[in-house]
Amino acid sequence: MRRSSALTTALLFGYAFLYAPIALLMVYSFNASREVSVWGGFSTKWYGELLQNQAYLDAGWLSLKIAATSATGALILGTLAALVLVRYGRFRGRLLFNGLITAPLVMPEIILGLAMLLLFVALQDLIGWPDGRGFTTIAIAHTTVGMAYATVVIRSRLAQMDESLEEAAMDLGARPIKVFFLITIPVIAPSLAAAWLLAFTLSLDDVVVAQFVSGPGSTTLPIEVFSSVRLGVSPQVNALGTIIVVAVAVIIGVAWRLSTRKR
């Protein structure tokens, strides 16, 4: 009994640690005072200022476009990679493939960013593409990172999947591509959605890689936030953070309801 109460205390402490900064951020986003730690009354003025801040709005729109593009690329590539890893058994080059797909998960972002930049510079030198840095280069870099995460998510679902349905369809004469679209995809759909969202979030959140491969005029939201926060505390960032937390909470809440209702 004593033991389990110790574990409960540990859990409470852990959750408090995880959520206190988020809660404080949300509370102080409604603080009228510029001094973040002094309460100066309730106000929504930082939200107003945030919505007037053209630099943030432009950066936010660019980030959303990049995130959607790279998440879609990561989903497609990740699905193919997961199929290869789960269904192909042994083939020549499997070891290298497996290494390449898991390495981005543990590779420090700073190395990835530098490496990506050096590749784009070398490519531009060699074949003239990509012309400068911006949307395309950031999207490619994010797709590469996102696909590694997407593969992990899809692969574990694919490994648990009952293959008899697919075999039945094959026995009835369906071609592999038809089986894939009519049976495999619907069965693994929740993991596909999770993989897309994960890649989307990672892209939307990345400062380090984007800082290397972005060019003038292609400032993403995290880069914008990072450069203003470096100079000190900024109440508009509190408001932005609150909006992000609420959006994430709503999406996760809806996803959770959907996934539990099905069972």
Binding site: P21, V36, V84, A159, P176, F212, V229, V233
Partner: protein
């Protein structure tokens, strides 16, 4: 029939080729380029490095590899210190994550089955919200006139504000906070699979809970401990945002040093050499992680 078989074989190859080529072009090649440039000499211009292979007039390739960039890393105290400090900070943070994360993972694994899902979700949710903004939030908590100091002084525990922001302490807080979910998730995965009858057997044989934990739970959760530790340690070594926002002038970490050399000095060869030096320190942990990952997947398939 042979035609259909041929087409199927072709399709199989395409499914393999697309992600494979992508990874080779956009992941393996960039890393090889980093390695290559780390041996080049710096020059002024675009790109700011000398070609490694020079086609001399006679058509003979001259290889101009240079170890200068690496020599520089060892000569400059700043980099040696950044190297040592990165590994120390990452190591201690990993240990702290383990100390906080293990009881949490165990607590979730021992909770009633119905509440495990929501509890786990609560660990994951912060990871989905912006990392940058969560780190920023600590800036306003840890400042001299921040929330923490206000609270501690209000309680009468301290008379003067503690200086935490812009010190190594703040970096530890930031890393432990940001990477805690990466520790809890793999730990939970191994602890949840643990057969409770093993602990019952230990209890029946008279082992006290603490003994049962040390003899049964802890050793069996070793794969989770290793996986979680690597997921924290490896990115922490290269961490850039946290030392930048929370650390002070004397917090030198490799990630920050690399960016400074790259962006301020525009010395791409030295930045590449730093990246290679960082990778050398991480090769063993990364390889270990991959082996573990492969083994877990093989178990999953059975």
């Amino acid at each position: 029939m042979r035609v259909a078989g041929g087409r199927r074989e072709w399709g199989r190859r395409l499914v393999l080729a697309v992600p494979y080529i992508w990874l080779v072009v956009f992941f393996l090649t960039p890393l090889l380029i980093v390695a290559k440039i780390s041996f080049s000499e710096m020059r002024l211009g675009i790109p700011p490095y000398e070609p490694l292979i020079d086609w001399a007039q006679s058509g003979v390739a001259m290889v101009r590899a240079s170890f200068n960039n690496y020599a520089l890393l060892f000569e400059d105290d700043l980099y040696v210190q950044a190297y040592i400090q990165s590994l120390t900070i990452a190591g201690i943070s990993t240990l702290l994550c383990l100390l906080i994360g293990y009881p949490m993972a165990l607590g979730i694994a021992r909770a009633p089955e119905r509440s495990r899902g929501p509890l786990l979700l609560l660990v994951i949710v912060p990871f989905w919200t912006s990392f940058l903004i969560r780190v920023y939030s600590w800036m306003s908590i840890l400042r001299d006139e921040g929330v923490l100091n206000h609270a501690l002084m209000g309680l009468g525990l301290i008379d003067e504000p503690l200086v935490i922001l812009n010190t190594d302490w703040a970096v530890y807080v930031g890393i432990v906070y940001s990477y805690l979910p990466f520790m809890v998730l793999p730990l939970y995965a191994t602890l949840e699979k643990l057969d409770p009858s093993l602990l019952e057997a230990a209890a029946d044989l008279g082992a006290r809970p603490i003994r049962a934990f040390l003899a049964v739970t802890l050793p069996l959760s070793l794969p989770g401990i290793v996986a979680g530790s690597l997921l924290v340690f490896v990115p922490a070594v290269g961490e850039y945002v946290i030392p930048n926002l929370l650390g002070g002038g004397d917090t030198q970490m490799l990630g920050k040093a690399l960016w400074d050399v790259f962006a301020q000095t525009r010395d791409w060869p030295s930045a590449s050499a730093l990246a290679v030096a960082m990778l050398v320190a991480l090769v063993i942990p990364i390889a270990l992680f991959q082996r573990l990952q492969t083994r877990l997947e093989e178990e999953e398939r059975r």
